[in-house]
């Protein structure tokens, strides 16, 4: 099966270009990028459109769409302990399935080709991702305490089970990562076991790291080390670690991240909304850290719109540091695409190049908000909206085109979500 997307322009054209680029999708990969005429089984006319690699959302709790808008404008304590955790106790497999489907649909609609997830009932999320065609790095939310011995550690056992059932599934679209929810929600012995298992088995690892001042300072009090230093001390930085948030990381933490190749998942909307603060993105990029982007869950965002997240990142660092050159449009675009694929341990993804996986989004530059178009990177970072996405494709398969979801029964998903989620915890 081959698909030709013809007459597009590419980000590096920096403007409309001549709109004469033809991109051949050959099976799951980009077979050819050329201005020559080319034949294919199926042809999509991309005239007036910008073709880009799709977006990689490297930190999400997709089933938290169930709690979108449920608890906003509250201090962290009342938000978490008064609202979110009590609601989560009512979560069922059915709710997680419905909320995951809703989340996946929102992401595909907005050009997201892959997401990372850390939550519960993860086999439901995995099956929803498999059916939808999206890519997923899944991790069973992992917490522990001093009583969590290997023989009663059901969360660890469920992770191993998840790996057995889903790691590498759907031609590699599904990857199972290990998880440590955070330094502050786990016991030393349990975290060492997770880290060792991840390293021994060459697995990815998802951890919330230094999201808030309380967490960061708390670790120093508890262990005499920052969270990142602690994770280094137990060997976790040798796994394929993607550290979410990293708002309060120190210069020494950043040096450790660079040394070990740790990826960061920057979640600017969530960090603003919950009052956590601003990740030191310039320092990280200058140190060579692989910075990627995440939406976090819809309870703290409240969208799963990685393009909006990219634009938010492109703006707030300039404002905080009162420096309009703090980060460029082009850097933000790379963070949202190529760096995200790398953070998920996905080779040959996130770039428009022959031989790379065909994870693509086609952007309508004829929308009112994109006229005129002088520079494609500026348009992507500052004016394009996720509703300007005309097509999303993953591994060469078209998941969304011209308003139609090709793999999802969207009306059923919306109906189920409204019925299932609205009052699930009442």
């Amino acid at each position: 099966m081959s698909i030709l997307i013809k007459n597009v322009f590419l980000p590096e054209d920096c403007g409309y270009g001549d709109g004469s680029v033809n991109v051949l999708i050959d099976g799951a990969v980009i077979g050819k990028i050329t201005k020559d005429e080319i034949k294919a089984d199926e042809v999509i006319d991309g005239r007036g459109h910008l073709l880009i690699p799709g977006f990689y959302n490297t930190h999400c709790h997709s089933a938290m769409t169930a709690l979108r808008g449920y608890a906003d404008d509250l201090p962290l304590g009342p938000w978490l302990f008064g609202k979110i955790l009590p609601a989560e106790e009512h979560l069922t497999a059915k709710v997680v399935r419905s909320a995951s489907e809703l989340a996946i649909a929102e992401m595909i609609r907005g050009g997201v080709v892959s997401f990372s997830d850390m939550y519960f009932f993860m086999d439901e999320t995995a099956r929803a991702a498999i059916d939808s065609g999206i890519k997923l790095n899944i991790a069973r939310g992992y917490t522990s305490d001093d009583n969590t011995a290997p023989e009663n550690d059901f969360r660890f056992d469920e992770t191993v089970e998840l790996i057995r059932n889903f790691h590498g599934a759907a031609d590699g679209r599904i990857k199972v990562d290990m998880c440590i929810h955070g330094e502050y929600t786990n016991a030393d012995r349990a975290m060492r076991r997770v880290a060792e298992y991840a390293v021994d088995n060459g697995l990815g690892l998802q951890i919330h790291v230094s999201e808030t001042t309380d967490e960061h300072k708390g670790a120093i009090e508890r262990r005499g080390m920052t969270p990142m230093q602690y994770f280094e001390s137990i060997g976790a930085l040798k796994a394929g670690l993607c550290a979410a948030h990293c708002v309060k990381v120190s210069d020494e933490d950043i040096a450790l991240m660079a040394k070990y190749g740790v990826s960061a998942s920057h979640n600017p909307t969530s960090n603003m909304k919950l009052g956590s603060g601003l990740m030191p993105i310039r320092k990280m990029l200058d140190a060579g850290v692989n910075v990627s982007l995440g939406t976090d869950g819809a309870a703290s965002n409240n969208n799963l719109d990685l393009l909006k997240e990219m634009q938010f990142a492109a703006l707030i660092h300039k404002g905080f540091h009162e420096n309009p050159t703090e980060i460029t449009a082009r850097e933000c675009f790379k963070i949202a695409t190529e760096n995200g694929a790398r953070a998920q341990g996905r080779a040959n993804c996130g770039r428009l190049a022959e031989g790379c996986r065909a994870d693509l989004a086609l952007i309508d530059t004829d929308a009112l908000n994109n006229i005129p178009l002088y520079d494609t990177y500026s348009a992507l970072a500052y004016s394009v909206r996720s509703t300007d996405v005309r097509m999303t494709a993953v591994d060469g398969k078209i998941l969304y085109l011209d308003g139609e979801f090709k793999t999802l029964d969207i009306e059923k998903i919306k109906y189920d979500a409204k019925r299932t989620l609205k009052n699930f915890f009442i």
Copy 2:
């Protein structure tokens, strides 16, 4: 002419409500808000939709859509003096007309019912607004120097001409404000004359105030006063002043604003993108200042999306101050609607109440990103997108409904804009 929008829910329903509210538009005003059956000449079924007052954009340079994405990620000096000002020298009436039409279309599409504008060739922008049906507070960009005597002050004369031709036009939709571009771009004598004319004639006044540290400190060096203190000293605070940006205002400046009833136009995206900093919104609100919202021009945003602007405001203040209760969703919504109308000196606008002007937007809550819906204010501040706007109405006239612009030839506007704007300064 009467229009019934039936089966909607309202913001204060805080959730879906029972979706049984019927709103009658009677001519230019909201005639009735009721759950009773009601008859009208025309009926719009609003089932599953949220009806809100439309958005008021209180600071914009609409014709700067011509420069959308033309110069990004630059320091203020090279941005302004190397790119924007040289390009503006090539502006013509034709370019301003085309760019204004494009801007107005983008705003109507996003539920904006009224905007304020400060720029050149303003009769072109005024005519575009009249034809489109949107409301407009227009001001001729005003700069001066020590050589600007009354007898050679063509900008002042053009303002008076603009007032004669357009103030109160289109049943009051068009208002002409006086303008002082800024304290740093004008001579004392000229500013005193503008302020006096505005006060004597009961006119609105648009000024950029304390947008940057350089401007704010510069005024103190030049005049021994902050910009706001200077404007008080020349009587400008007694006009209907809407002060744009106010990023660097002091506590004393805020007290002056409250004392004189000065409105602020908060432009968070522009202030972040240009590295200006963050307006002290909490202090202003607590002091009783009428804070409204503006997009600024598309060269420093790069959208004219007041809903996105509202969401940006709802997030960044929490993040900067590391306080999730810094500002609430409900406050942000009031800032974007009711306060904006007040900043523009428009009585009986910006609220959903019988007798108020029917300046309305209808929001599709069935979009993926709005499911589930627990709280309408949260949805508006954190998840609704401007593309979820199904209808925009101004003074009871429907300007946009279900994808169709009722007063604009949108394909012609896009065609003209692409042709006229793309290379207007080359």
